[in-house]
Structure formats: C-alpha cells, structure tokens
C-alpha cells in the first residue's frame, strides 16, 4: 500500500479536485446570476445522476463509451502519438457491428456478438492505422489527419445509412434493426444500461494491466516520454506507436459497437453526441492514467445524466454542464502554470519568514 501511495501524484490530484471545485463554484455563480438556487440546482444534478436505481443505471450506461474512448485516448497519448480521431473510429466501429448484425442474422448470440465486437474493433483499429502509418512513415502530423478523418467517417456512414443501408421502416437515418440474437440484455428497467458494462469492465482491466504492468506498457510509456531514449534502448519506436494507435482505434471502435448492440440496436446517422471528445477529456483530466480515466468517465457520465434531470427539475438549462466542463478544461490546461505560481508563492512566504527570523 505504501508503495502504491508513492506512485500517486498527490499534488496533481489536489489541483484536479481544486479545478473541479472552482468550476462548480463558477457554475453556482451562473445559477445565482440567473436567479436560480445553486443548492437546488446541484442537488437536482446529484440526485439526477445517483438518486435512484434508474438514474444510477443511466449514469453507468453513459460511462461505457466514455471509458472505452477515454482509454483509447490514454493509450495513444501515453505512447506519444495523438489519436484525436476517436469519433470517426467510433462511427465506423458502430457501423461495422450493425453491418454484421443485419447481415448474419442467423448466427447464435455466442458467435454473433463476439464477431460483431471483433469486427468493429478491427475496423476502428484499421481506421487508426491509416493516420498511424502516415505519421511513422512520412511524418505527417497525426493530429491533423485524425481530425480530418473524423469528418470522413461521419459523412461516409451517413451516406451509407441514407442510401445503401437505409431502413425500409420509415425515414429515420438509420439501418435496419440488428437481429435479436445480437441484442445485449438490458439490466435495469427503462434505462439503457446493458451487459456491455461487463465487457467494458473486462476491457478496462485488460488495458490497465497492459499499460501499467507489462513490458509493452513500459515500451509505450518510454516512447511517449522520450522517443530518442526509447530508440536508444532498443525499442522500435515506430512499431510501438503504430501498435498503440491501432489499439486506440480498436477501443474507440468498440465504443461504437456497444452503442449499437446495447443501446440503439441499429446504426444511427448521429449515433454519438461526441463521446470520443468526452472520453478524451476524461483522459486529459486523468493524465492518461487508466484508473483515473475510469473515475473521470464516471464523473463526466454523472454530470451528463444529472444535467438532464436538473433541467427538468429546476429549468436550469443542461448546457450549464457544458460550461462547467469547459471551465475544468481551462483549469487543467493552466494546471502547470497555476502550480508554478503556487510553488513560487510558497517559497516567497518561506523565505520571507526566514528573513524575519534572521533579522
């Protein structure tokens, strides 16, 4: 336990908690200015997220794609290659799963579901491989290519579901419903929480193990921290970056798969309200630490779920949560700067004290 404590970056956790706290305070001020009681607002938010079995289930349902895309981001960022293309990979992964589900309709669930997951992961991984190989072979900035490929994926799937794969059941910008055997079981009445949370937990544990306990995770980390050092130590840095990128894409693809198999039962033109971006935020908040990513994903999932109840209960717009999220991002971006100021202040105070005792 003491060993574990030493590894935890306590000062960062404090500054993250402070950032969140200040963001919530600013949120409270906004409510006050608008003549709403922040106390009522936040308690509605909290009970909306955790207050009942249904609410809790909804929060965790939201957590599934956030954890997967968050871990996807974390593993790529830690390896020094920046996959900002999670949203596109999610869309393609989701469509791939739906394709399996509407094509191989007679497969039993124990073959069909794994097949859909693997195929979705594969498609997501391949879609990340493309910018990955451009990066390591031709030094083309992966940040730019992945962002652009997001648009390509979203528009391409949107073409697919509106033309070749459009449902015949009315106009709803989606595919046909996938075969019954592919449906993941719902766990709580009315909520969309489904067995994908178990898949997700398993995947999260595997990724945690991979990142923190294995030589592969060590290689990823060293490449990300200092590529020259990794190369010098005999690590094939380009290969590691590619592998990390593909794993990252596969995770984001799987996030899409579970949206199809567990939530919508079909591919929809706008299947993700930006899960990959929120997942990235979770990863940034946790500094790419896999355990932290899960915790932050739950936190963000709770904010999202709670904000809807808050709007219903208090007529405080749910967009307020977006404001709070944005402020957290700002604080995290400024974290280093804040910390320096903080340390300096401390030293000044100390040296002043020392000066006084000298005199």
């Amino acid at each position: 336990m003491r060993e574990a404590m030493k590894k935890i970056n306590l000062s960062y956790i404090i500054s993250l908690a402070l950032s969140i706290f200040v963001a919530l305070i600013i949120g409270a001020l906004i409510m006050l200015i608008n003549g709403k009681s922040p106390f009522i607002g936040y308690s509605a938010l909290f009970s909306g997220a955790f207050g009942s079995k249904y609410n809790l289930a909804t929060t965790f349902a939201k957590t599934v794609p956030l954890v997967l895309t968050g871990l996807g981001t974390a593993i790529s960022f830690r390896s020094g290659i920046f996959n900002i293309g999670g949203e596109g990979q999610l869309y393609l992964g989701a469509f791939a799963a739906a394709y399996i589900g509407i094509t191989f309709t007679s497969l039993p669930f124990f073959i069909g579901i794994p097949l859909a997951i693997i195929f979705g992961a594969l498609v997501g991984g391949l879609y990340a491989f493309l910018p990955g190989i451009l990066k390591v072979k031709y030094k083309i900035d992966e940040v730019i290519t992945t962002i652009m490929l997001n648009t390509v994926a979203v528009l391409f799937t949107s073409f697919l579901v509106n033309y070749p794969f459009a449902t015949t059941q009315g106009k709803m910008n989606g595919t046909e419903i996938i075969a019954q055997s592919y449906h993941l079981r719902r766990l709580v009445k009315l909520s969309t929480l489904n067995t994908s949370i178990f898949f997700m937990s398993f995947i999260a544990i595997v990724i945690y193990y991979l990142m923190e306990k294995t030589s592969i995770g060590y290689d990823f980390k060293m490449v990300g921290q200092n590529r020259m050092f990794a190369r010098y130590g005999g690590i094939n840095d380009k290969k590691q970056m590619l592998i990390a990128m593909v794993i990252s894409g596969a995770l984001c693809g799987m996030a899409g798969v579970f949206e199809v198999l567990g939530v919508h039962y079909r591919f929809l033109q706008s299947i993700s309200p930006g899960y990959a971006w929120d997942g990235m935020l979770a990863s940034l908040m946790a500094k790419n630490n896999p355990v932290g990513v899960v915790l932050m994903a739950i936190f963000l999932g709770a904010l999202k779920t709670g904000s809807v109840s808050m709007e219903n209960a208090t007529s405080i717009p749910s967009e307020l949560v977006m404001v709070i999220q944005a402020i957290i991002v700002l604080f995290i971006a400024g974290e280093a700067g804040f910390k320096d100021k903080f340390v300096l202040l401390n030293i000044k105070r100390k040296s002043k004290k020392a000066g006084e005792t000298n005199a």
């Binding site: 294995t214 030589s215 200092n226 050092f229 005999g234």
Partner: protein, 514 residues
Amino acid sequence: MAEKLIELKNISKQFPGVLANSNVNLTINKGEIHAIIGENGAGKTTLMNILYGLYEPTQGEIFIDGKKAVIKSPLDAIKQGIGMVHQHFMLLPSLSVAENVVLGSEPKKKKFFMDYDKAIEITKNLAQKYGFKVDPREKIEALSVGVQQRVEILKVLYRGADILILDEPTAVLTPQETDELFNVIRKLVSDMNKTVIIITHKLQEVLAISDRVSVMRQGKLIGTLPTQQADAKILTEMMVGKEVLFHDLHREKVSGEKVLEVKDIKAKDNRGLTVLNGVSFSLRAGEILGVAGVEGNGQSELVEVLTGLRNLEDGDYFINGKKITDVNPSNMRNLGISHVPEDRLTMGLSKEASLWENLLMGLQHKKPFVVKKIHLNKKKIFERTDNLIKEYDIRAIDRYMKVKKLSGGNMQKVVIAREFSFDSPILIIAQPTRGVDVGATEFIHNQIMRKRNEGAAILLVSAELDEIMRLSDRIITIYEGSITGEFKNKEVTKQTLGLYMTGKQNKLKGSEDN
C-alpha cells in the same frame, strides 16, 4: 591598492527548491582578469547573470564605482558598461558578422532603414581597434567556433562595455583557439583598460590567465585570492571542500582479442551532408580507445553509427570478426554493445520517468525481469534497482523519484549504472563527465577503468583532452570526419593532439624534423 570597480554585497538568489547564491560578497578591481571557478551548479553563472541583469537577486546590492546600481535587465547592465558573452553563443547563423555585431542598436539611415555599409564599416573599425581578424561580410555559419566567439566579444565591445563577463569561454575551443582567446583577453585588459570576469571550471586556465581568482561552492563564495598565491591543489580543495586529486588510475595489463572493427565507414548528418568520410579503426578487449576531436567533427555521428542509431552509408562493420549487416539499436545491444550517450537528457534518460524505469531500459523484455512473456516482475526489477542505487551511489530519495529531480552528476550515474550493469563486452562512452562535478567525475573514471581492467573493450569519446589522456590506452584524433592520427597514450602531448584535432599536423611534422 587596486581600484574597486564592482562590489557585490550579500547577494542571494533563491530558485524554487534551490538556493543558487547565498550571501555572496565579491569585489572586482578595475583592469583585472578575475576568474570565478567552481563545480557545475556552484552558482557561478547565476551570480554573473545577476550582475548582467538576467536575474534579480532575492537579496543583496550591487555597487559600481562606489555607487549603488540598480540592474533590472541586460539593458541596465549595458548602460553601466557591463557586457556578457554566454556559454552558448547568441548569434544568428544566417546573418553576417556585421549584422550580428550591430544587432539591437543598428546604424540607421532615414531613421528607419538599417545602414548596412555603415554596419560593415563599424565592425571593421572595431575589429581593427582590438586586433581581431574577422571579415565583417562573412556569414556566422561559415565561421569556426573560435571566430564566432570573437564576434560575440565584438558585439559586447560595440555596445561600449568596459567590463566583460565570459561564461565558460573555452568549453568549445581547441587548445590553440584557447591560447588565441587568452591573448585577446590579455590585450583587452592591458591595452584597452577593460576588466574581464571569466567563469570556468578548468583550473589550468585560471592559473594561466587570471590576476585574481574567486572560488564558489554550493552557492557560497569560499574565497578570493591572487592567482600567484594559488595552485591547482589549493583551488581544488576550495572547490570541492575535500582533497580530490586526479591520481593515476590503476591500469592492469590486459591483452585481449580484437572485438570491434570498422573499415572505411561513411555516414551523413541530419542535413544529409557527409560527416564520416571513411573511418577505420579496431578495438580490443581490455583497452580504452580515446577519440579526441573538437566537437562537430563527426565523433557524435561515429558513436551513433556504431550503436545503430544512424545509418551506415558505406563501409564494413565487424563485431568479433563477423560482419554486421543489420545495424539497428536493438541488434547492437544484443551483440553486446552498451552505450553511454553524449547527451543524457535527450537520449540517455527519460526525465519524466522514475529511477527504476530509467534503470530498466534494455532489460524490459529479458528474464527474470519479465515473466510470462510480458508481465513485469517488479520484485526482481526493484531488487536490481536498489542494488544499482547503492552500488553506484546514486543520491535519490527512493526508486520512484523522477529522474528530472536528480542533479546532473546523479543523472549521469543512472546512465552509467544502467549501461555498465549489462556487463557488455563493448562499451561506447561519449562525454561521460560532461557537466558533472569533480567527485562524480572521479567516481565515473574509476568505473570506466574498472570495466577496462575486467576486460571490456571501451571506445571513449570526449571533448575533454584531460579525460582522454587520463583514461585511454590508445588515442585517435578525428578531424572533419576522418582519422588524422593514432597514438599510444603517454607518448603524445596535449599540444600535438591539439594540432591533429584541427588538421594542422603538417605544421608539426615540419618542426619535428628539426
């Protein structure tokens, strides 16, 4: 009684976590050459940066000509007649000498446009006045380091400096260039009434040039004394606080097999220019082969080629008599090469990673540190880490400490500990003690010699001739990507090496014939 020019009174400077200067009192007399020496991190440069206005002191006062001076920026310092030449030159390589000299206060025509002709004239006159040989029209990038340094000095003189601070001016110079620089400094002081403060950690230089010397240690000024009363032993004692003498290292007679050989190898630098132009040599077990050369003559690239980090364009590379076809870092490591790189921060370490992670590099896929193919065996890893920390005397809080929080000497010990712990038959070591204090230097030298006596084949690249001469059995000199000479150590003088390092060996041959 000499006239006091600058007085620093009770200067202290606090950086986050470090007290860089602590109650320093220093007097500089008019018209003297004042050396400030101390180990790396002793606070010399910080003190001078305060005088030059780059840092504001946490406390203390500066008096110039007896008047209290407020120096808040280099501009203030320049107004007071203080100029500084930094260790790393601050020149624009693509501009001409004249443009660099006048940069910041250019002669203008029509109040707006720079007057190039005037700039060239100014530079020419200035160079003439001080007896420098520089072509004002030449671009900086075409000049040798020694001449670039003179441009830096000209720049300072152009701004009207009477007090020149030179920070480690000889770090990048050959022995010949150093001599030339010293002549320039002497002339500035004797003919032009300038005052020179020179920061260095090389004792011989202090003794050769200065009038007075101040010794710093751990942010404190230990003492100032006239150079005539000082010698290397006294100064070293003052610098390190204990007697550390560079005695001869125990050298066992080892005669080993030829383990590494290169024939006519060629390589290109990052810009695609040929930097190794057919280099051949061989290396035996149980010997240290020193590579002496001024930095930038291909020795960095040589090390990179040998360790697989740079493409071998042409030529043959043999290890244990076998020709190596696939030269890459992982392959070279498997063939038994360990590498202490010249720059520990860009290549030798990951600053953000912990001590144990840094010490693990290279073993993360090897038993017993990894089990079941990928599972890191932390118990074994930590055991080894803790042993190395002890054995190599790495001063760290624990194995989780981030390497960036270590001092330079301890960082270097981490690299040495890791690479030496592999017990590789071949060690390729570049600049092993760069920026490392005297105590750690002694320790590292001892470790290198121990490895040699145990039978390792060692290639030592260093910019410090003293280091090469202390450790090597054989020495080769490299100049512009070619080997210019090979010598048995003890049979060659520093001056001779210096000539070979600068491609001027022909001069020597003439004089030897006499």
